[in-house]
Chain length 451, copies 2
Amino acid sequence: MTTMPGFAGETLGRFVAESRWEDIDTALRHQAKRALLNFIGTAIGGARHPSVDRVAAVLAPFSGPASLTLFGRGERLDAMAAAVVNCIAGNHLDYDDTHLKTVIHPTATVAPPVLALAEERGLPGAAALHAFILGVEVACRLGNAVSPGHYARGNHITATCGVFGAAAACGKLLGLSAAEIWSALGIAASQSSGVVENLAGEAKNVGVGNAARNGILAALLAQRGYSAEPAAIDGKLGWARARGDEFRAEEITGGLGERWELASISYKPYPCGIVFHAVIDACLDLRRRMELAPDAIAAITVRGDQLLLDRGNRAVRTERDARISIHHSAAVALLRGRAGVREFEAAAVADPATAALRRKVRAELDAAIPAGGAAVTVETSDGRREAVRVDHARGSAERPLSDRDLEAKFRDNAALAGALARADAQIAALWAIEEAPSLGPLLRAFGADAG
Amino acid sequence: MTTMPGFAGETLGRFVAESRWEDIDTALRHQAKRALLNFIGTAIGGARHPSVDRVAAVLAPFSGPASLTLFGRGERLDAMAAAVVNCIAGNHLDYDDTHLKTVIHPTATVAPPVLALAEERGLPGAAALHAFILGVEVACRLGNAVSPGHYARGNHITATCGVFGAAAACGKLLGLSAAEIWSALGIAASQSSGVVENLAGEAKNVGVGNAARNGILAALLAQRGYSAEPAAIDGKLGWARARGDEFRAEEITGGLGERWELASISYKPYPCGIVFHAVIDACLDLRRRMELAPDAIAAITVRGDQLLLDRGNRAVRTERDARISIHHSAAVALLRGRAGVREFEAAAVADPATAALRRKVRAELDAAIPAGGAAVTVETSDGRREAVRVDHARGSAERPLSDRDLEAKFRDNAALAGALARADAQIAALWAIEEAPSLGPLLRAFGADAG
């Protein structure tokens, strides 16, 4: 398509309204299915966390009669409340996907409202996939247009940009016109919120969850003719500048409809900070190679760039510390041969054998190792010594997770939820989502109460 | 009380939790009743506007079973949805109150969630008044701390600060501890939204309405132990700086508990921009004094400062134009002898006699007239000529509306809603709200379906 002059909301509204499913190629459709497989699995794995329980309990009395699926949970709520709970379940551990250029977790705010609306209305899988792809595009392009200043100043970009993606996607799913989606995006501008300062606490969830919900609200209001101002996003007193940022319009228009942001999102193999993934890869490799018994390990040296050391060289007291610790990441990988959700939970943090191994880890700066890489050397008490260097971790742009990797991650998450028996059928249903005539029956199989 | 060192949320949380009703003096309690009388009347008058209808229709399917009052409307919704609808009904015409120092409309976001929660739980009127007073204090002090940069950059301060006031007030009403209210304020930081660019459109309502709703959400989550970061408001990556602004902590601590922001809010006698109020006052005075027949008027000259001319010297095509027009304000006051809601509606804008009179108005700069003032000269076709200068308009800090004025405004609004017969009883109930043992029965009398 050609790019339009005028306002950002106008350009994006027209792009979303005019996009046709037949213009979305097979590879991009497949990326969308991968994103849903990854996100829904992560949500199932995270669904019973107390932070999710509390939000669900608070919202239940404020939910209408519609009875929609909460991934991995037994109760059902209306579309707005389901969007909040599913969003938080999949995002609260930061184990979901990442648009590396902006650090947006795009699926968290876009998929839950789209799937809830599609389930409520019995819409086809292809319509939901299409809306989802467009919503991710809108969120990430707006993120590109205000990065890096917007996030660096304290705006939690997953939430602040996510609400636009959710609004665009819901608008597309409801069949809104270009002008109506433009209005929905303008309404989203008045709902954009979230601060980085809160990232360490549960309050983060509220900003992200509201972004998912408020996309539905924006689209439903726009459908009824609710108006917004043309320059709500990029005007003199609009969204971008209210956050103190410049807005680079070329990030909206450049290659719109040709280059897709969804194609570059990455998936985490481990539920910890991305910079620790290379450390874990190296340790898993050494464990296999050296056939290590834990008490045979005398010393572990992890080398990496300044960012790795800045982020990860720390005392470990809590789950959150563990997810951003070089020492804990290396210790669990060497000790347990895996680094899944359980390996970063409180029990693993407190485990004496893990703590003992953490104490044997030393972190060292090595400027020769590229960002995102790490080198690990293990010495055993009987004098063996081996080293592995990983420049590109699993899940990075250079080594994306395969479909099989994503299926294995889904099964891990299902096992955490005690629902492994249903995982293969759920995985098959998601790979076939494009052919589903209605998402109602398909999605109902993802609640904890489904047969 | 003494002020606390530490974080803004900590200081405000402790202040709100420790405040005792017996420490609130009679004058301040009376101010709170005036604010509620003004706001609820405005909400009744604005309740049937299509912008309110649409929001209520969109939210109805997403409302839980609780059945709470919508001022001036027939249907009932749960507390969160009622807070949104009542907030928008009272605020969408900007006829509600104003904290002049920040331009926050404080009652719109604070009163609706407090009243809805109090109605839902059958709480006493005094508890709701107390929570309301504290919520207004929190919203306006945070506004003071980030003004004028926050608003000047495009953050719609009524919404962005209102959510903190709503959270604090709901937290107080629920009896939360200081630490819990601190958390509620931190959660509010992740929900603060609203852009000035949208002020001319309906999208404005969504930002303001969400602020009211999300105060309830913040307080209920905090009650269940949901955490936020200590510096969510004033930290390096917290709310104030994410909006690009400095935060003046002394605006939070200075005279806290001694000087009250509620004492300085003002009420509008006319539903148009405050700078036009002096024009209307002068025209109403001239009409009485000269016993003017409309077709006897040959020329009208309005003189004022640069702000008045910048804002109001414009062509009038829409209701919104009319509410910020020197010409329309003068014309309706001279022609109809009043300037209420009807005088700024579409029918009045299109009325030929009003349009003819608008054309006779000339606006002139007069630097000698103080901000907020105006001088009007009327010349008649038979050669009479009189001038009136108003330095302080009705409703300004120097000439606050009396209790009787507020009652008359309430009746005007009730008449617009076709509910004048119930107005006197409603006014009496609001003046007696402090003694009400439960707000359930009291508030139910404010719906359109009540007897």
